[in-house]
């Protein structure tokens, strides 16, 4: 078993062989990956050492102290959080070797082609078609809410390969080359003014069968890995006290006594308490995972995160009074990554509206908690035994 001391030794070796000050950042990241220090819980040869996930913090602390470059995880969040675990679980050896290293070093950005205009909460109803032609699949359809599509080299894609069976059974999971001439990416402007997301039109896109992840028709099960990791990534961040959306609101309160009212004081204190309790819940969940006792609590973190972000940012706009009537900038931009707490209160308020929609709406997640955690009866499933082509749409 690789322990903390062993990881420190290996990290010191890496730093000695590739001193950060005199090494090209990309060369350093590649060397780190090859030394198994990228994500220590991954297997040897794929950037890891098969060590406990909790020991990653040991490596990260040593490297940060030595001034080593990181892989700018904000820019490649979809690759790290969703594509990588799916490739690791379902990919062939060749796929793992081809994709994981440049994914982790950030040389290749990934995006996710899942949602469609006609398939949101009911993702399994998706209609983008993939038809087999020789060694290739030919894909036609439209995807939406695709962040990073304009900078991505690869996409994880789910498409319908069999319309004659019920919806969950006719889906297959692919890796799609975003440089294929049939891929068209158009910015989708959102309520914040910017276009963090895109619409992606797929017209005669050719995907070699070697870029299929998992079995034909098994794409829904493969996608569960991706989606479960997405929710963990969205709700499971470790934060210090006042580390989230409450931080800027509390700072404004402290620095601007003139804005204070009794009503806002009571509401701020309530939200401060809820933010702190939510932080403790996330910390407790983390401690459970480290102790190897994962509980169902993770299912709720994203729900709490969404609601708190919305309520706190809403309060902050109100606290600002006259300034709350202004907005920093409506210019249409295409940011490379999402920063929920970035920019000003008005932006935070508008952006956080997406928190209860993206990665599973609050309404769907409440169903999941009620059914899977509390064991309450499931929603009626009138589409369970109906071929996809016969569904109402």
């Amino acid at each position: 078993m690789t322990d903390a001391a062993e990881l420190r030794r290996r990290t010191a070796e890496l730093l000695a062989a590739h001193p950060p000050a005199g090494t090209d950042p990309l060369d350093f990241l590649r060397a780190r990956f090859d030394a198994g220090l990228a994500w220590v819980h991954y297997p040897e040869g794929l950037g890891g050492l098969g060590a406990p996930r909790s020991l990653q913090a040991v490596v990260d602390a040593e490297l940060e102290a030595a001034g080593a470059p990181d892989n700018d995880p904000r820019r490649i969040g979809i690759g790290l959080g969703m594509a990588a675990p799916t490739i690791l679980q379902y990919g062939t050896e060749e796929q793992k070797r081809r994709f994981l290293r440049p994914l982790w070093t950030g040389e290749e950005v990934w995006c996710q082609l899942f949602s469609e205009p006609g398939a949101g909460s009911d993702l399994a109803a998706l209609g983008t078609r993939a038809v087999r032609e020789g060694e290739d699949w030919v894909v036609n359809g439209q995807k939406v809410w695709t962040s990073s599509a304009h900078v991505a080299r690869w996409a994880i894609l789910i498409a319908r390969t069999d319309p004659d069976v019920p919806k969950h059974r006719g889906i297959t999971y692919f890796v799609c080359d975003m440089s294929d001439p049939g891929v068209e990416v158009r910015p989708l402007r959102q309520i914040t003014g910017e276009a963090e997301f895109n619409e992606v039109f797929l017209t005669g896109v050719r995907i070699p069968d070697a870029h299929r992840l998992g079995e034909v028709g098994d794409g829904w099960r493969v996608a569960q890995t991706t989606l479960n990791n997405e929710r963990v990534a969205i709700g499971g961040m470790r934060l210090p006290r006042e580390g989230g959306m409450i931080g800027p609101a509390a700072r404004t309160w402290r620095e601007r006594p003139g804005l204070r009212t009794h009503d806002l004081h009571q509401r701020l204190l309530k939200l401060w308490v809820e933010a702190e309790v939510s932080r403790l819940t996330a910390e407790r969940l983390r401690q459970q995972l480290v102790a190897g006792q994962p509980g169902p609590e993770g299912a709720g973190m994203k729900l709490a995160f969404a609601r708190l972000n919305q309520e706190i940012s809403g309060l902050e706009v109100e606290l600002l009074g006259e300034e709350g009537l202004s907005y920093d900038d409506w210019t249409m931009r295409r940011p490379d990554f999402v920063d929920f707490t970035g920019r000003e209160a008005g932006y935070r308020y508008l952006r956080s509206k997406g928190n209860s929609i993206e990665g599973g709406t609050t309404e769907v997640l409440l169903n999941i908690v009620a059914e899977r955690v509390l064991g309450l009866p499931t929603e009626p499933r009138t589409d369970k035994d109906v071929a996809w082509k016969d569904l109402a749409r």
Binding site: A250, W253, R254, P257, R260, T261, H262, H265, Q266, L268, L269, K270, W272, V273, E274, E276, V277, S278, L280, T281, E283, R284, Q287, Q288, A291, Q293, E297, G300, L303, A304, E363, L366, N367, V369, A370, E371, V373, L374, G375, L376, P377, T378, E379
Partner: protein
Amino acid sequence: MTDLLYTEEEEALRAAVRDLLGDHCDAAGVIARTESDAPHDLRLWKALTDKMGLAGLLVPEGLGGQGATHREAAVVLEELGRAVAPVPYLTSAVVATEALLACGSDDLLAGLSQGTTVAALAVGLHTAPGAAFPSVRLEDGRLHGELTGIADAAFADLLLVPADDGGLYAVEAAAATVTPQVSFDLTRPLATVTLAGVSGRRLGDAAPAVRRALRTGAGLLASEQLGVAEWALTETVRYLKDRKQFNRPVGGFQALKHRLAQLWLEVVNLRAAARGAADALTTGEDADVAVAVAQAYAASVAVHAAEEAVQLHGGLGMTWEHPAHLYLKRAKADSIAYGTAGAHRDTLAGLVDLPAP
């Protein structure tokens, strides 16, 4: 770093207490007892204290106790809350015990930790840590006056009474007049304590002892509230899976599923807050903030859970026979005990530098 989990020993303790309560504390018995002359359950108290030694958890071994911590006492309170058990655990084994520890009254602690003596701190149950509290008059070495809202005083052998000289006095309950009040919470009844020229023994300064006792009481009350909320959620989910209307289980209606899922989220949060407070009281690190956070949060969850239990049980939830009302009354009384959520938010405003206008 705060340890928010339960250790194996703590889980074993929980299982033992739950077992015992399963044998000794059924809902029908608790309801019947509330209408008797003896609302407290002496037999259950003996089982918890004689057999299991639970009253001495917070007392060091050298003083006759178990030398455990607030973390274990919190687990006991979760289970007592889950059963709305009518025993003076929080008031005697936690609050009065902490007051005696603060005063260094070692000779009195042996009896409390064995459960053979039940003590009540004669400060109104509604009092927040750090808030002002009434005292009795000390005249010619004798105590005179009346104190109201004293939880579990009717079951106590020993009263810890603040007097107007700033001292905390030990008074034999037999020497005082203890008059039961008609209490909102049937399972933690209050009483008025009247002292008419009674002699007492000065234990130490009242203010620091009361403050410490109430802070611990407030912090561990969150674990009791967690137990109350868990019972309400579990029992309501169980009932809604079973209860059928419109030819289907009522728990299958999405409006109800969402309400129960929301409640589950609150209970999950409360567990983290309550564990945070219990751990902070154990280590002494950041305890003021942890207790205030837990108490600013816990009441709304316990009350919400109990209110949902009543509503979602339909007509059954309105009956005297069904135990849901015991939990509603406990949850609502707990929302005032040791300071309201609002009082604890005011405390936090000072602690974390979010001052009022």
